[in-house]
């Protein structure tokens, strides 16, 4: 997975109302995603010697997508509304 691909996904998630994404640079780029002030998800991007296809699988899991949905979401085929609905179904969003 490329860094710009992850950025495109995170930038779109950041457009959801009540979402704040915090980024920290440590050994990796680490992202904490808050919804309504509460931490709901976290993911990271590692700058390895090469891009690893497995990272995509883990990032998808962190963000509660299927792997094939990541690109669809970035390309707007999956809307924010649909994504939020999926997060609600999976009990990722807090009710408060």
């Amino acid at each position: 997975m490329k860094f710009r691909e992850l950025n495109a996904i995170l930038n779109k998630i950041a457009t959801v109302e009540s979402v704040i994404i915090e980024q920290r640079r440590t050994d990796h780029y680490r992202y904490t995603i808050r919804y309504g002030g509460k931490v709901i998800m976290r993911t990271k991007f590692s700058f390895g010697s090469k891009e690893k296809s497995g990272d995509e699988k883990n990032v998808a899991k962190d963000l509660h997508f299927r792997v094939d949905e990541l690109a669809l979401y970035a390309r707007c085929t999956i809307s924010n509304e649909k994504y939020l609905e999926n997060l609600r179904i999976k009990n990722i969003l807090s009710d408060s």
Partner: protein, 132 residues
């Protein structure tokens, strides 16, 4: 001719490097080919002066793209490395980072899943510094 990857040839030696027994763990007595699959193992400690484990942690290790990946599903943590040892070492760091992040945020700032992770980590991790 003895099978170099047989379970018996590798398992009983103390301090065996996981990579040396990797093939036997996956394809014991079935193949000489290096497998590209997964096996389960455990973390017994966090290699940290500050934190220790009260219980062992289940880990799945897999190999893809010449890279080893260690993950624990319950805690939603994963790491990679150029060797099994490195991936497991990085996973220990990830568990500590997650624990510290969740402690910093506190219960009231966590959504449903992170709350579950925090509960699991509180049962798993002992802070050696705060108790001395």
């Amino acid at each position: 001719m003895p099978n170099p990857y047989s379970f018996e040839n590798n398992y009983h030696s103390e301090g065996t490097d996981l990579e040396s027994i990797w093939p036997s763990l996956v394809f014991s007595n079935t193949s000489y080919r290096k497998p590209y699959s997964a096996f389960s193992t455990y973390l017994y400690d966090l290699s940290s002066d500050k934190y220790s484990l009260k219980e062992i942690v289940d880990v799945i290790v897999s190999e893809e793209d010449d890279c080893f990946r260690a993950e624990n599903d319950e805690l939603n943590v994963w790491s990679t490395g150029n060797s099994v040892k490195e991936a497991l070492s990085n996973l220990k760091k990830e568990i500590i980072v997650l624990y510290e992040e969740l402690e910093e945020v506190g219960e009231s700032g966590l959504g449903p899943k992170p709350l579950v992770w925090r509960g699991l980590l509180k049962d798993l991790i002992k802070n050696e510094i705060s108790r001395t």
